[in-house]
Amino acid sequence: MEPVQQKKISRISELKKEVTILFAGDSGDGIQLTGSQFTDTSALFGNDVSTFPDFPAEIRAPQGTLAGVSGFQLRFGSVEIYTPGDVCDVFVAMNAASLKANIKKLIPGGILIANISGFDKKNLGLAKYPEGINPLEDGSLGKFRLYTMDITKMTKAALADSGMGTKEIERSKNMFVLGFLYWMYNRSMSRSIDFFKEKFKGKPHLIEANIKVLNAGYNFGETSETFSSQYEVKPAPMPKGVYRNIMGNQATALGLIAASEKSGLGLFYGSYPITPASDILHELSKHKNFGVKTFQAEDEIAAATSAIGASFGGALGVTASSGPGIALKGEAIGLAVMYEIPLVIIDVQRGGPSTGLPTKTEQADLFQAMYGRNSEAPVAILAASSPSDCFETIFEACRIAVEHMTPVFFLSDGYIANGAEPWKFPKGDGLGKITPKFAEENPEGTPFLPYKRDSKLARPWALPGRKGFEHRIGGIEKENETGNISYDPENHQLMVKIRAEKISRIADFIPPQKINTGQEKGEVLVLGWGSTFGAITMAVKDLIGDGYSVSHAHLRYINPFPKNLGEILKNFSLVLIPEMNNGQLVSIIRDKFLVDAIGFNKIKGVPFTSEEIKKEVLRILGVSVPN
């Protein structure tokens, strides 16, 4: 076998507009930490960033196997970044399994950094390479710029006299990689050093060890002969302002707290642990000093019903889950529809059905949100389009729930929940007001009518403790205005119509749909919702650049739709709806507007690439695309 030449790059600083790095290794290798540290540092430096963590479903999947591979993809640049990248320029493979699982993502000519110790006989066997085959040595990686280094060994050397055990030392090897990449992209290590100091407070030996390994990685870059180039990615020209980095679930949690503060309602969050929604619970439980009450319920049903109970008492009642958990909440959501009280239901969607692909992303719960209850039980539905957009969208969901006295679905998904991006965060003062619809005083001598409505068709919210407003609500059909039990046929039809009309009227209180990219009229409208935003934006920008008549509109409000959506659809000859499901929004659009919208579906547990969308637009335009 011919040994592979280690190519040398001349020691110059190359300027790059954007770079996509993929860190991959065993789930025990600290890949997520490495990725998020590099992200934070790059964001602080002023790059635009977008991330895509990808972890195995099993917490302790067998070490070294394909099932145990954890990845973190990160794109950063001096230009606007909309997605974590379709393919990657740099790939750090900590072991053989991670190489095997991800090598297809590396572009020809891309940089491949491989940890030699992760390619020993045992690891090769676990990755199911045939006996005697080592991809690092057989020439199969010839089209990449391969750099092998013994990260494990160098980490051990750096910590030789630290007094730490072998296991503990090995666990620090991700910091070597991080240090090395900091060198490669000329980044300051101070953000990570501060992070260690905070994370290992009171454990000085761990702070020291991590800094040591980080430095060792950095110095290795500087001094090693094998690798001799640095890259420069300048800060991105983003709109002026002050930024922070934010993940989707974190933005959701912050949006809830903001809504609680702006409405004056205490936040009650009923939840049962489930991937990928649990991080919202974790985040909220850290902020009890905002009066936040988090309730880890005994099951999904209790998570939803406790939030309903809290809402009856005057709290901002919120419950969250992912697809299968939402299914369990269905009956409770129907009850909230009858009660006509505020309830926010967060669905961080994941691959399904059933347990499906717990750690992978999908947008297949739109039908569940729209129709997933018995009988006629309409609710409002909003969807977030990016990690930072979770903030505004959940805030809006809370506003609608409280001001319109209705359950509201907030849809996010695993991709944006765990992804991160820079966020030009707002000031509290700049956020809209949320005005609860508390019952007004009754004229003397008149009884309180719990189901008497205002022009929004919202009923009054009368909280226990208020004298003269004692009333009973229930899941049984109720008489218009009085709320008393009623089995009257005419009344039932009236109430079903009123509940539907109440949701429709929300359209009077939301902004009109805008065209996010492109012209108001044209040949193709790419209509999206949720986390496909980044990929569609990139694709449409490229297509416009290539001279095609393509526009992009992205929906935040799905039920009801903005009032002008029908008009927008009419302005285009073709409507393409890319979704990570088997065609849900497309059915609703066709149903509501009788438009011959074209579905484009990817149901693989991974997001669209912008290339895929571009090709599909060209295909429906009849342009032949070489494969």
């Binding site: 930024y243 319920a297 209790a302 109970g309």
Partner: protein, 340 residues
């Protein structure tokens, strides 16, 4: 909660027509509840009745307080959220054997262990009434009914043993046909801080008439029941000549007229969890010769922190140590950068 004067049982009556079957045990319970609320003098506006689904769950419509009639089995979970959000409210959960022990079994046990300060009235009629006569998780084995024409093969729950196991802090039993006792127990339940669980034997005269007659009717009541009194020996029988003695952990019936002294009898101690557990096991089939009589009264009480208080306490601690949260600081986070 402030108390006010002169509120009367009738002030708790709503304008809604009560729709239980004539002769149903629920009427008696409703009456006692209205009377007890008047006696403790809690304001109507501070009181919330929460129920699930079933005959008993219509209860809130008949109480002139705030009320939530909900869905099957979930009253306990709804009340948990309500109490967590509003510790100031006086909350009563009305549930039945199907609602609490079958479809809502999970929420029921978790309510007990969390010890929210609420009162639970568990109407046990050993049958599904509202759905017209199927067996429930407390129906005695072998009972013939709509869904078990050959007799049930389900082993029934022993509800109070279950409550002990779930960590309940107030466990009691009463019956619809003894209004005086029921009233006394409801009063005690209302005063207990923590989850007060009262199992009420309730006759469903339509689908399971007489299920509790051995305990409720004159002819047999005195032989078949024990009325527990704290710190008193356990004595029963028409002329109060029978008693219970503990032989190790085994309860035995003794006759005080046959040379046994009242001094050797089991002294009821509400604070003793072991003894309370044994008492909940007095659950024999009345047709078996030598069976133990069924206890009524307060089996067990314990003082333990309530969930909502601990929840509030954590908020207070968080505010003390971190200051009341500032929204702008939260949105800003720890690491920011400026693009100029």
């Amino acid at each position: 909660m402030e108390t006010i004067e002169k509120i009367l049982p009738k002030d708790f009556v709503t304008d809604q027509e009560v729709r239980w079957c004539p002769g149903c045990g629920d009427y008696s319970i409703l009456k006692q509840a209205q009377s007890v609320l008047a006696e403790i003098g809690i304001k109507r506006e501070d009181t919330v009745f929460v129920s699930g689904i079933g005959c008993s769950s219509r209860f809130p419509y008949y109480m002139e307080t705030y009320g939530m009639h909900s869905i099957h089995g979930r009253a306990t979970a709804i009340a948990s959220g309500l109490k967590a959000a509003r510790p100031d409210l006086n909350i009563w959960i009305v549930t039945g054997d199907g609602d609490a022990l079958s479809i809502g079994g999970n929420h029921f046990i978790h309510l007990l262990r969390r010890n929210f300060n609420v009162n639970v009235l568990l109407f046990n009629n050993e049958i599904y009434g509202l759905t017209k006569g199927q067996y429930s998780p407390t129906t005695r084995k072998g009972t013939i009914n709509k869904s078990a024409p050959m007799g049930t093969i389900d082993h029934p729950f022993n509800p109070l043993a279950l409550c002990m196991g779930a960590g309940g802090t107030f466990i009691a039993r009463s019956m619809d046909r003894d209004p005086k006792h029921l009233r006394e127990i409801l009063l005690r339940a209302s005063k207990h801080k923590g989850t007060s669980l009262v199992e009420i034997y309730q006759n469903c005269n339509v689908f399971n008439d007489g299920a509790f007659f051995p305990f409720t009717e004159k002819e047999s009541k005195q032989n078949e029941t024990i009325f527990l009194e704290n710190n008193q020996p356990i004595i029963f029988g028409p002329s109060r000549t029978m008693g219970i003695k503990l032989d190790g952990f085994k309860p035995v019936i003794v006759n005080l007229e046959e040379g046994n002294s009242a001094n050797d009898l089991w002294i009821h101690d509400e604070a003793d969890p072991i003894k309370a557990s044994i008492l909940t096991r007095f659950f024999d089939d009345v047709t078996i010769p030598g069976h133990l009589p069924r206890p009524f009264g307060v089996f067990y009480t314990e003082t333990r922190a309530c969930y909502e208080d601990e929840m509030e306490a954590q908020i207070v601690t968080a505010i003390e140590s971190k200051k009341r949260g500032n929204l702008d600081a939260l949105l800003r986070g720890k690491n920011i950068w400026e693009i100029k």
